[in-house]
């Protein structure tokens, strides 16, 4: 499978408080999360982002709190994948569990600029950029299964269905 998209580039240590401030968490109306996504860095981001776009970031993306709303805000804003030098661990788990494609790829920050279009080949584990091709280590098999199912909920639903007589 190959996905491609326009890049929104961010720096290091993008924390969950700038991805979605706590004041929006206590909400039953979940549609407000994507509307405020990353407003701590760029208040106009949600109006500019398009479905299928890709976030490229530096190290430790998603550091800070365990709020899963940070993943949901990004996913529901239409982002198809995040490629970063590294991810904070809770954000990484939350991303996979919600079916958001996360790729850890050393050197990605220097290989792309804001607005570039990049191509990710999931079968081969490579990313094509204007400055060349980067390789990344694919996820372990069972995490890949969770991701392919669309997240942990769907994964469990399948499992439950599969085990029914």
């Amino acid at each position: 499978m190959i996905i491609s998209g326009r890049v929104w580039k961010f720096g290091d240590d993008i924390d969950t408080d700038v991805i979605i401030p706590a004041k929006y968490l206590r909400s039953v109306d979940k549609s407000i999360w994507p509307k405020h996504v990353l407003e701590g860095i760029d208040p106009t981001f949600s109006s500019k982002v398009k479905s299928g776009d890709i976030i490229v970031a530096g190290k430790n993306f998603g550091c800070g709190s365990s709020r899963e709303q940070a993943v949901l805000a990004i996913k529901w804003a239409g982002i198809s994948a995040i490629v970063a030098e590294s991810f904070a661990r809770i954000f990484f788990r939350n991303g996979i569990n919600n079916g958001l494609l996360l790729i850890e790829c050393k050197g990605i920050s220097n290989a792309v600029d804001n607005g570039d279009v990049i191509e990710i080949n999931l079968n081969e584990g490579i990313i094509k950029t204007k400055r060349g091709i980067l390789k990344y280590k694919p996820l372990p098999q069972f995490l890949q299964e969770i991701l392919n199912s669309g997240g942990l909920v769907e994964y469990y639903k399948k499992k439950i269905k599969g085990s029914a007589p």
Binding site: D12, D17, S65, S66, E68, R89, L152, K157
Partner: protein
């Protein structure tokens, strides 16, 4: 593989929980959970996930606890609705709930009443790593992971590499555990321990109280760690009552090792807007402060309130500065009251609020306006963390916070210890 190679405490607890004799870093295991915690901010999302799955019955109600701490008592109708959902779920399945009146900061309640050495603990809150101070393996997870735990009692883990910080020597007067952990984070950076377990060892940590150890482990996540952890000792057993003593082997392997000389540490501050932007307070004294907050899962314990009371006794909070003090739990609150600290605070001109997370995450009780400056004993100073994205947060120890409240500007607390004049 050499089976005789030693293991760290983290590896041993994950091995035990996953029914193995031996695990190595990088390996994926499925561990049986001894204790799972949700609170009022991440709990509703967990219930939502359970609803999507179509099953909600917990694997074992006795191993789950729900603690209200982020916005209690409810501060809006929305919060009230969400808390009502959790209350209903707890009642339906006989899950222990710390509701208004029995509420407190989840990690403090967990330390006081639930966590024992040797346990595998997960909480839907990133600062669950605090509990590693009691010799448990404790880590924060998201709401979907938590839903999986509630249904199955299990969760997958990547066995983390361990980083050891050996603490040596004694802390100087006016310096506390908070200064030590800020110093360490400043040294290694916000991703300095990414995916790792950070283990604190040495005579320096042995001499520290449980309160201090909880402060140190609390901020392990601020350097990206999966947990902070300390081998249990007689202090741990006295605090916890029971538990299984699991310790790191002498020949355990560490990914990195550091030696920290406590005698060399002076009061530290994390400047806006990142936790690893650390400097000695003495280098940045004089910044004018609108609000001071003493509390949170980092520094809302008795030892912290005691340190603040020693400085505030007989003194007044600066006329243009607001001081908010929040004990971490009812137990801490009552003991602080018995010892006269609460009176000291009120006489000094502070406001004392009921146990909860307070303004730490900008949800409740002291949210900051544009351009306001807050000196806080909490653990994060990200943009907009405590309110307006234009506000600024400086992270310090309770000693520094109390001295700052008196002067209305950031000040090295050693001036109040007769150590610097």
């Amino acid at each position: 593989m050499v089976i005789s190679m030693g293991m760290t405490i983290s590896e041993k607890i994950l091995a035990k929980a996953s029914g193995r004799k031996y695990v190595t870093p990088g390996e994926y295991v499925v561990g049986k959970i001894d204790l799972a915690m949700i609170h009022d901010l991440t709990g509703p999302l967990t219930l939502n996930v359970l609803k999507q799955v179509g099953y909600e019955k917990p694997w074992n109600s006795d191993k789950i606890v729900i603690i209200f701490d982020h916005q209690v008592p409810a501060n809006s109708t929305i919060t009230a609705e969400l808390q009502k959902q959790l209350r209903k779920y707890a009642k339906k399945y006989g899950i222990k709930l710390h509701d208004v009146g029995r509420q407190g900061i989840c990690h403090q309640i967990l330390a006081e009443e639930y966590v024992k050495p040797g346990m595998l603990v997960v909480g839907a809150d990133s600062h669950t790593c605090t509990l590693g101070a009691l010799g448990a393996f404790a880590t924060g997870i998201g709401s979907t992971d938590m839903a999986a735990v509630i249904l199955t009692g299990e969760l997958w883990f990547r066995v983390p590499e361990s980083i050891r910080f050996e603490l040596k020597g004694d802390l100087k007067l006016g310096v506390s555990a908070k200064d030590v952990i800020l110093y360490i984070i400043g040294m290694v950076g916000a991703d300095g321990a990414l995916y790792c377990a950070v283990e604190f060892s040495g005579d320096g940590i042995r001499k520290m109280s449980i309160d201090s150890r909880l402060t140190i482990c609390n901020m392990a996540v601020e350097m990206g760690a999966k947990t902070g952890i300390v081998d249990p000792d007689e202090k741990t057993m006295e605090y916890c009552g029971t538990g299984e003593i699991i310790e790191s082997d002498k020949d355990a392997e560490y990914y990195k090792e550091f030696e920290i000389n406590l005698n060399e540490i002076i009061p530290q501050v994390a400047l806006p807007h990142s936790v690893d932007n650390v400097k000695p307070v003495s280098e940045v004294e004089g910044i004018e402060v609108d609000q001071v907050f003493i509390g949170s899962c980092t520094n809302g314990r008795l030892e912290d309130l005691e340190a603040a009371a020693e400085i505030l006794k007989g003194r007044k909070v600066w006329k243009d500065t607001r001081l908010i003090i929040i004990p971490a739990s009812p137990r801490v609150y009552m003991e602080a009251e018995r010892r006269g600290y609460i009176r000291t605070f009120i006489e000094a001109g502070a406001v004392v609020c009921n146990p909860n997370c307070g303004p730490c995450l900008g949800g409740h009780m002291g949210i900051l306006a544009d351009d306001e400056v807050c000196v806080s004993t909490s653990n994060r100073n990200f943009v907009g963390r405590m309110g307006s994205p234009k506000s600024k947060v400086y992270l310090v120890s309770p000693q520094t916070a109390a001295a700052t409240a008196v002067e209305g500007k950031l000040v090295d607390p050693r001036r109040y210890m007769g150590d610097m004049k």
